[in-house]
Amino acid sequence: MLRFLVQRCLFALLTLFFAAFIIFYTIEILPGDPAQIMLGVNASPESLAALRTQLGLDRSVIMRFTAWIIDLAQLDFGISLIHGDRIANILQQRLTVTIPLALIALVFSTLTAFLFGSLSALYRRRMPDYLIAILSQVGIALPNFWLGILLILGFSVGLRWLPSGGFPGWEAGIDAGIRSLILPAIAIALPQAATLLRIVRTALIDSMAQDFYRTAQAKGLSPALALIKHGFRNALVPILTILGLQLAYLLAGVIVIENVFVLPGLGRLLLQATGQRDLIMIREIIFLAVVATILINLLIDIAYGFVDPRLRKVSSNE
């Protein structure tokens, strides 16, 4: 097991290194002169030269890449030219929106998936099961940003219960902050739950077919109680691995939905930086997103290794 862990971690580091090079190359080398891109075509030669020196463009490509990696290893994200502030500070501030949003969405989607997944398993091959199956198919096909717009239409434009976008800041009170995250979290969570509830259903049906479940029912527990007391615990292992999948969806969901609801989080920052051609900022956020993706893939890999020892084959590529 230790060998498996070490090997997976090394592979992940190697992937990260090459991914970092791809990011560096496509942002700083491929488009031509980064200084020109950031300052636009009307920039004076003096300011261009100054920015080139500031960015260290006079050094060789290898030197620049190495310097970047060393900075990253020290968690030094550099300075944004547009914001004139340390990127680390800006990221930290934006994360106070993105992380709560992701957490609320995670809770919503997990609860929804468990509720409908277990209903589906309990009423297998009966009306509720078929109904949930149809809802799940539609939910998977639903674009999360459209769901966001529909929620705004229903709960902000129509009922006027919740804000249609924007974020008052946590200074305005936790209450107001959470209120503006509810609709975005639902928009992220529902399409995700539609996929996950099927995995919950399959896992529960598997454990309901086991002897201990029948024993529990023979002891006089109702189907629902037997499911809660015994079914869930035994379905937990495959369900833990889908939590990993959740995180991967969340990453993309957060970027899109923050832009639907104009929330000042990391995803909004990334799109703004793209519009402003703030290359350093784009480079750092994309790097973080890729780190997150690789980390999530690694966790899923390791989780599967725990669940099924046959998947721990060290040398093969599967």
Partner: protein, 293 residues
């Protein structure tokens, strides 16, 4: 709705067959209708989608404009048709491109995975390369591309195609490796066929079914991704029409004309639903055929 109806027995099998064919029929019908709409929309729309008519802005549905008009006074039905053409074009092109490259890489990896050390190394390189591409979600690679080639259809197609390469490379490699150890392949090697002949004659036909199923699902995902990219302003640019862009515009005028925010979303959902249903239907059909054999 795979594995939605377990159980054996004649009745259960019949039941299963009905649900499967329902999936497939519904998926196929949905996609066919949308495809016809897209084909027509590519050459003809009831009104021009590039002409601005300031006297007909944000109209409600009427006999003249069945779905109303947008903030430029363009007919919504015409926009939906042009948007369908865009969605099918981007979805089809990106999945074709990604699957073509991915399948070729996967087949090469599989055929070299049990060869000499140097060939095994090639297999590792291809699979590790897939891992690296897999670390870039569609949206992230699109934003990387925007810095180089700007926003537009090319960016959307390239980003979605890139995402599809490792998906198809892994799938085709894993299926092919199972076929490579079959007896008839050993026999073909014994009579002196080279790896390319074996791949074309034996490996590819065996992998065809699962690849088509995957392509159907990926097509749905591609349409979803294309809509998301154009909603965010990274994909197709005006004056080209896309469903995602229509929704972004509609959101601006949500308080004045909420109806505009409905139809494009329904279209995206139906297209993705159709592709997913067709995929599950095909997959069930194939596994049923395998059972019968």
């Amino acid at each position: 709705m795979d594995s939605w109806i377990p159980g054996s027995g004649k009745l259960a099998r019949m039941n299963k067959a009905i649900v499967q064919s329902a999936n497939m029929t519904l998926g196929f019908t949905l996609l066919s209708i949308l495809l016809i709409l897209a084909c027509v929309g590519a050459i003809w729309t009831p009104y021009s989608v590039t002409t601005i008519d300031s006297t007909a802005r944000l109209l409600s549905p009427s006999l003249l404009h069945l779905l109303g008009t947008d903030h430029y006074g363009r007919d919504t039905l015409s926009l939906i048709m042009a948007g369908a053409a865009n969605a099918f074009f981007v979805g089809g092109l990106s999945v074709s491109l990604g699957s073509l490259i991915g399948v070729v890489l996967g087949l090469i990896a599989a055929s070299s995975s049990n060869g000499r050390p140097l060939q095994k190394f090639l297999d590792s390189i291809i699979m590790r390369g897939s891992d690296i591409i897999f670390a870039f979600p569609v949206l992230i690679s699109a934003l990387l591309l925007v810095n180089n080639i700007g926003s537009g259809m090319v960016t959307a197609v390239l980003a979605i195609a890139t995402f599809n390469i490792p998906v198809f490379a892994r799938l085709s490699r894993n299926i092919s490796r199972q076929v490579w150890i079959q007896e008839f392949v050993t026999a073909a090697r014994a009579v002196g066929r080279n790896p390319w002949q074996i791949t074309l004659r034996h490996i590819l036909p065996s992998a065809r079914g699962p690849l088509i199923v995957q392509a159907s699902t990926q097509f749905g995902l591609a349409i979803l991704a294309d809509a998301t990219l154009s909603y965010l302003g990274v994909g197709v640019q005006p004056p080209s029409v896309s469903w995602g862009r229509m929704l972004a515009d509609a959101q601006t005028f949500l308080y004045i004309s909420p109806a505009q925010a409905i139809t494009p979303g329904i279209m995206i959902t139906l297209a993705v639903l159709g592709a997913n249903l067709l995929g599950t239907g095909l997959s069930d059909f194939l596994s049923l055929k395998l059972q019968q054999e």
